[in-house]
Structures are given as structure tokens and as C-alpha cells.
Point group: C2
């Protein structure tokens, strides 16, 4: 998206040197991409993909990194001006760092992947792909009918840039789209807006529930037993936000007792999901291993370089985290 | 789509009585829907769901029916003014009846179902849903990456109302959309248009090939060994048009030798597909039993009633078949 953006900072910026530390599973790839821009003012002091390799740092001006690795590094870095997260979710940093630090996230690069992920699984259930495969195995010609998606209701929890992209695509398919977010929202793709405390009105309408909430104290376990009990037994839940929004024990019980059709789960409180988790073995659970929307090094580098330009020019950075709400 | 259209023909039409014969698997449902309109001028002489029940008919003004059943009935009906097909494909009638008869098809009611069908299977392969299920069965956390659909190329054979609806949705997902049709077409969703004899340029570009061609002498076995050999081995074929457009023996060979990733087949030369067909048992074939877009009695009745209004008023009917091209 931002990959081919030209960066021409070299002229004015030779004066101020900025020390950049990279802590990310993709550290080498980030170093290579940033080096390719040949910015004289930017000095990559270290790029580590394993936190145990982090050298003692006197001062770092800028930290670019995966939030969990950032959280583990921060106590070893006395001074820091700006942290650029490589993920959309920044909770590990918010929980660790003092609120005065300039912290920026990532937006606008996950919506495309997420709408493909959500529609893939929504259509998977709606077109009964597994049922047709079973008929094929038995060589039975029964011609089951699939109800059109058009006219069915999708509920989206979380109406940030990703949620709105999913809403837009659901609307393209003629679905009724209702959504929940903290702030009321005016958007052509959202037929009706609810707040979290209106779940008793919201939940019973849904054929599909898509959870894209960030992890904050306000969103923890909002999908609990009470919420789940309001859903139709034919409802399919897709969670591609954060595991903490859903009470997974309550969800497991609902699925076990067929009070829901199925759940597609991308995120888990512990990742990799431990082998002992019963979720692996439930026939109405599909596990997608936190792959719904993957940070692409080129996209993230684009966001970082654009923000570095603003940083040098003392302009406001894109996608600044509001420490009060945590995203 | 047309279901709630008010029909108020009773006034002027009491004079001319029209004898209507219905031959369809859904004959009873059609009789009930048409009776509900209480049109005095329309006399349903018989409604049969099994051709063996057809009584000898002196004269029928209008025949509403499934094309294969119409074809079997026509030699027993001496006079007929207008045939309304209940399907989009009218080849059985075109092959049987003399070209002077007014014949109307069905358009505009299948696009919505077809775009859901095509996108369901396209996203099924693109998001590697089966691969994730296999990982889940083995409880392996490997986080395979899925390339975004956006930027990939879909080729659509047949750019009628259904093909254009699929093109519009593929474009919504950011795909490159190229298409083949007899006549050149200007449409915002089609990036480039080809004719069938340009398949050597068309085929090698495709990540997904969707065949929606009608069955005519010009479309028979256009996807043959030569065409298939031009496709990338990673290409997925979806055939939801007519079986006759594809040389299924050549297709089976290509799939057996992994010269294609997979085929999703909705239509077959013989339906139900015989148990002896090797297609049932091929691991890279998905069979959907001619269910991609199903004639809905309410929709078809709406098309018929609208056309009956035009018929009574001597206006041109909707979706008239051109006997020269066969659709």
C-alpha cells in the first residue's frame, strides 16, 4: 500500500541523528527495507529477532517493534522518544510503558486481508462446503439448497478501519449489517449502531457475529455467557480481534451444547494454542492460528517511513495511540 | 426480486382466455403461486411434475416449464404461442422446437446466488481452509500465510448478466478481472476483454477460471486439452455454466497429473452424476450437484407474471431467446 512511496529526507536531516532500535521477529527484513531508503539521519543501532540478543542501550530515540517484544525490552532502554508498533494491537506496550511516550500503531493495511478472511468463512458455512464434501464422499446426489447470504444479518463488534472494511464487503453481498462500537458511527455500510450494553437487542438478530475488538479493559470478556445466550443456535461466531474479548470457557460450553452452529477462532489467550486445549478437537471449531491478517513487512515499513518523515518535520504522526482508551 | 409485484390484469382480460400448461418439477408450487394472483383470463389446464401424467392437449397458448420437460412435451402439443422457461439454459427446447415459437428465458435472478457460490470457492482455496483444517487435526501451529486475493487474476468465460455480477464482486475484492464473450463488452468491472479464439493470451494469466457459458454449438468443449495446457498449474477452475463447455476427459487428465490445482464442478453431462464417474473420487475435485444458482419458484413466477402482462398487452416480452445464437 505504502511500499513504493518515495522518501527524500537526506537533505535537511544530516544534522540530527536518530538512533533506531528494531525488536521484531522480522528484524532482518525491517533493517534491509529501511537501509534501502538510505536515510543518513537514521542510525539502526541494533535489529534483534530474539530479545536475548538485545545489547545494553544508553539511549534510543525510536523503537520499531512487535509489541510483545517491545514490552520485554522497554525496562532496558532508559530514554525513548517514539515507539512504532508493527501490529495493530498495542496492549503489551500500553501495559508496560509510561503514558508520556509517543506510541503509534498500524491502521489501513489489515482491512483487505480481514474482509477476505471473514467472507471466506462466512461463505464456507453459508454455502455448506463441508456438507457437499460429505455428500461427495458418499457419492450421494441430494442437491441441498443454500439460503442466499443476501438478506441475512451480520453483526460486527468493533467498527475501526478493519471493521468498516468488513462491513462494506458484507453490504456488497446485500447483508443487513449491524455493529457495536464505543462511539456512535455514521457509515453507509452500517444499518444500525449499538453500544456494548445494548447486546440484548443486538445479539438475537445475528446470523453471523464477527468480533474485531481491540484488547482494552473495556472489552475484556464482553462476549460472555449472558451475551452468548442471546444468540440464535444457528449463529456462527468469527473472532479475529483479540482472544480477551471472549470468555472462551463460556464459548466452549455453548458450542459443546450446540447453542451455536460454529466458531472460527484466529486468536487465543495463549499462542501457540497449547495442545491440551479442547478447542483443537471440537468438531464445530475452526482454528486459523492468528493468520487472518498478517503484518506485511513492506506495508509496515511504509507506515514507519511515512511516520519518520512526520517525526523529523515535527508533524503529528499517523495512528497515534490514545493512552486513555488503549488503542 | 419480483415477488411482491402487484398484478392487476383482471379488468381488461376477461375477454381473452389463455390456456396455460405447467410442466415442471415444481408444478404444484407454480400453480399455487399463479392461482394466488387470481387472474380470470389465465386458465391452468394442467400442472404436471411428471411428464407421464401429461394429458393430451388440443391447444395450449402458454407453456411454463423446466426446459428438459418442455422438450419431452412439445411433440404432444399441436399449437403453442409462447414458452416461458423456468431455467436460464434453454438448449433442450431450442433443440426440439421450431424457431418460430416465442421463447423466453430467465435473467437477473441468478447473479446474486452465483457471486456467492463463486466467491465461496475462490476464497476457500485462497484462504487454504482445508490446509488449516488438516493442521488443526494434527494440532500443529504453523501459521501458513495466505496471499491476498486482491491483485490476483480471475478469468470469466461468459459475460451475460450472471458473469457481470461475478465480475463486479471480484472487482470489489480488488482482483484483476478479464473475460471472454462472443461480443465485445464495455464494463467497468472488466479490465480486458477477449474472444474465445484468443485463449492463448487469456488462459496463462489466470489464478482462477470461472466458466459461465451457455450451451450452444459455439461453446461446446471450448475448454479442451489445448486450452487447459495454457493454464498455470496453480489455477483453480470453477464450472457453474454448462458441462458441455468443458472436455471433462481432458479436465480429468489435467487434474490427475496436477496440471491444475483443483476444479469445482456444479454441472455434468449426465445428472445426477453417475456413481461410476471418477470425478466423485478425485481429491482435487469438489462437486456441488447443480446447486450453484437454483431457480426459486417465487422469482420465476415473478418473471412469468411480468411477461404475461406484456403478452396480454402485446408488448415485447423480457428475456426473449434469440434462436440463431441459442440464448
Amino acid at each position: 500500500m505504502f511500499t513504493s512511496m518515495p522518501i527524500t529526507l537526506d537533505l535537511a536531516l544530516g544534522v540530527n541523528m536518530h538512533k533506531l532500535l528494531i525488536v521484531s521477529r522480522d528484524a532482518d527484513a525491517y533493517r534491509e527495507r529501511i537501509d534501502a531508503h538510505q536515510i543518513a539521519s537514521l542510525d539502526i543501532v541494533q535489529a534483534v529477532s530474539d530479545i536475548r540478543d538485545l545489547a545494553p542501550q544508553d539511549r534510543v530515540d525510536i523503537l520499531l517493534g512487535d509489541p510483545d517484544m517491545c514490552a520485554q525490552s522497554l525496562h532496558r532502554i532508559p530514554e525513548i522518544d517514539w515507539i512504532q508498533s508493527t501490529w495493530a494491537g498495542v496492549k503489551p506496550i500500553v501495559d508496560t510503558q509510561k503514558a508520556s511516550t509517543l506510541l503509534t500503531g498500524i491502521k489501513g493495511v489489515f482491512g483487505e486481508q480481514m474482509r477476505e478472511y471473514v467472507m471466506a468463512y462466512l461463505l464456507h458455512f453459508n454455502r455448506q462446503i463441508d456438507e457437499f464434501k460429505q455428500l461427495q464422499q458418499r457419492q450421494e446426489w441430494l442437491q441441498p439448497r443454500c439460503a442466499p447470504l443476501s438478506g441475512q444479518t451480520i453483526g460486527i463488534l468493533g467498527l475501526g478501519s478493519i471493521g468498516l472494511e468488513v462491513a462494506h464487503t458484507a453490504k456488497h453481498f446485500g447483508m443487513k449489517v449491524i455493529g457495536v462500537s464505543r462511539k456512535s458511527i455514521e457509515n453507509l455500510s452500517i444499518d444500525k449502531h449499538y453500544t456494548l450494553d445494548q447486546h440484548a437487542d443486538f445479539a438475537p438478530q445475528l446470523d453471523y457475529l464477527v468480533c474485531l475488538l481491540p484488547h482494552t479493559t473495556a472489552t475484556e470478556k464482553v462476549i460472555n455467557d449472558t451475551f452468548l445466550s442471546k444468540l440464535k443456535p444457528s449463529c456462527v461466531i468469527i473472532n479475529a480481534g483479540r482472544a480477551q474479548s471472549i470468555d472462551y470457557v463460556a464459548l466452549q460450553n455453548a458450542l459443546k451444547n450446540n447453542r451455536l452452529r460454529a466458531a472460527v477462532l484466529d486468536v487465543f489467550e495463549q499462542e501457540p494454542l497449547p495442545q491440551s486445549s479442547p478447542l483443537w478437537r471440537m468438531s464445530n471449531v475452526l482454528i486459523t492460528q492468528h493468520t487472518a491478517a498478517i503484518s506485511n513487512v513492506d506495508d509496515i515499513t511504509g507506515v514507519f517511513m511515512q511516520n519518520y518523515l512526520h517525526f523529523c518535520e515535527n508533524k503529528p504522526l499517523n495512528f497515534q495511540i490514545d493512552w486513555d482508551i488503549g488503542y
